[in-house]
Symmetry: C2
Subunit: 323 residues, 2 copies
């Protein structure tokens, strides 16, 4: 699967993934109103009506679905991948997860590669269930049923090999990939990840070593299907990790709204300008609310997202070229 | 919220939580058949039928729902709490999560305290969404809507304070609780959690210190609403952590099927015999498949679960009394 991502990045010359993390505050008023009108008139079945609370969750989920569709339509020819953040859907319960599911299928039909940002991880048998849910298939009724069925999932390593191996097995069975959290983009990521161990290296380096080991059984071309999340907000660590994990593809969140620049990211890429993909969520999907994209207005939110994505792509191309 | 759990444990004299992790292999044939009959004849709405794959997911979810109901009916007067493991539901997609949701509401109506074993954790704004989804409420349409609405959620600490604080804030707003992973029950938990840091203590002790710190702003009686997961499979670490975290209530998975005995757990409790609750999942809900509970047969699966729960309760009572 990682080779498919690499090929798609090359084809579009854009190492950029659009984070579909649609906070309701990013969704223009006209979409929220249309969703409210639609749901307030809707029936579940045969005259049954939603409760007020259910209707509110369905309205939000419908608004986000329409929002996602326009964003995806506007960027699908210029970026290789999207990264829906499942928490933003989970907060709206089952209706929200229905929108997550629909969004994933819509993006697949548009030819996009989908990174499900789920950050799951548990003990062995439980991680196996999560792996089935997100990148594998669930054996049931004599079938093998794909469930949320994204191409890559993000995975939390805190439980060790037990928690990650079921995902790697699924990567091998169904040609999928994962990105394991190594050094996350958030301000307090260092509290545990940067702790110096008695062996003289920070914890995130031990995690990086394990990621290489886990990934060695799932190579796909030059890189492994087992990638790593390394925050764009940590350029020094990114440069170090690029060298420590030469076969590990990096998913780098944190560009834009979280503060990282293209220059910070140059060292995340390999000598061919491959080896990493950079995520921006708010910076793209909420671009219409900020300069220099405010001119597009709420009705032009998707075109604002496209303009912001194009600017980000150009910014990264230059940073890679100028290394 | 932690005081409610402590009171419920005291009232039933049972520091036991039943893990509702219903692998389909635990669900007796007659329930699976009844579910298949029900779903194969079902209509979504107005004559619309499920696809074969959707029907398979709905059948599994229906079988698990009926299974859970009987288990809950059989144990709700003897245990204070249940712990549904969301991964086991997520693997069946939206129908599975509907069963999770129903199970939670059913347990609440039975007066049980519900620990949602979700092991979520992300960067700040994303953890806020997860916290809303599982223990808080989502602001939408002028309402504050409870979503999955369990009493406690399990939380992964790898991202540091940013990832945990949104959950703690929700604990304070809605009188809820969390259990943060400190030392997990699985065989490879030591790979990162036991790593000796340059300061001379293992990583899990650093996490334990943070858990105390996070919990200090959410005290509820003698204990904090911010608890810790410490695997019953690690008795020495459990004893040490009990002393290091005197205000931290412990959720201890790993009894029974994962290999821990009641004797291993004695030191997890405080001098009053409080301070911890022990989980068993398979050992209770799949008891009917094993000696000495096989006599109950598949039709008596719920009574087998009750018998296994009673034996576990007695086993722990004696271990606490004999310290």
């Amino acid at each position: 699967m990682i080779q498919k991502l690499i090929d798609a990045i090359r084809e579009k010359n854009a190492p950029v993934v659009v984070g579909l993390d649609p906070n309701l505050a990013f969704v223009p008023e006209h979409l929220q109103k249309a969703a409210a009108d639609k749901i307030s008139g809707a029936e579940i079945c045969a005259g049954q009506k939603y409760t007020e609370e259910k209707a509110a969750l369905y309205t939000a989920s419908e608004a986000i679905w329409q929002f996602n569709k326009e964003i995806v339509d506007a960027v699908c020819d210029i970026v290789p991948a999207v990264k829906p953040q499942i928490a933003m859907y989970e907060q709206f319960g089952l209706p929200g997860l229905e929108t997550y599911d629909r969004t994933v299928r819509y993006c697949r039909n548009k030819g996009l590669i989908i990174i499900g940002d789920v950050k799951r991880g548990d003990i062995g048998s439980t991680s196996e269930s999560y792996a089935r849910a997100h990148i594998g298939r669930t054996p049931v009724g004599g079938l093998e049923v794909p469930v949320f069925d994204v191409d890559f999932a993000t995975v939390n390593p805190y439980l060790g090999t037990d928690g990650v191996k079921p995902f790697v097995d699924v990567c091998n069975t169904y040609d999928k990939g994962i990105f394991v959290l190594v050094k996350t983009s958030n301000p307090s990521s260092g509290e545990f990840q940067d702790v110096l161990t008695a062996g003289g290296v920070p914890m995130y380096e031990l995690v990086a070593q394990k990621v290489r080991e886990w990934g060695s059984v799932s190579m796909d071309g030059r890189y492994s299907n087992v990638g790593a999340v390394v925050g764009a907000t940590w350029p020094e660590q990114g440069e170090k990790l690029r060298k420590l994990m030469p076969e590990t593809f990096i998913l780098a969140p944190g560009y834009g709204a979280q503060g990282a620049s293209a220059a910070d990211l140059a060292a995340f890429f390999d000598e061919e300008g491959s080896g990493a993909i950079v995520n921006s969520s708010r910076g793209i999907i909420a671009a219409w609310q900020k300069e220099p994209y405010r001119q597009y207005g709420p009705e032009g939110f998707a075109q604002a997202a496209r303009a912001a994505a194009l600017d980000m792509i150009e910014d990264l191309r230059q940073a890679i070229a100028n290394r």
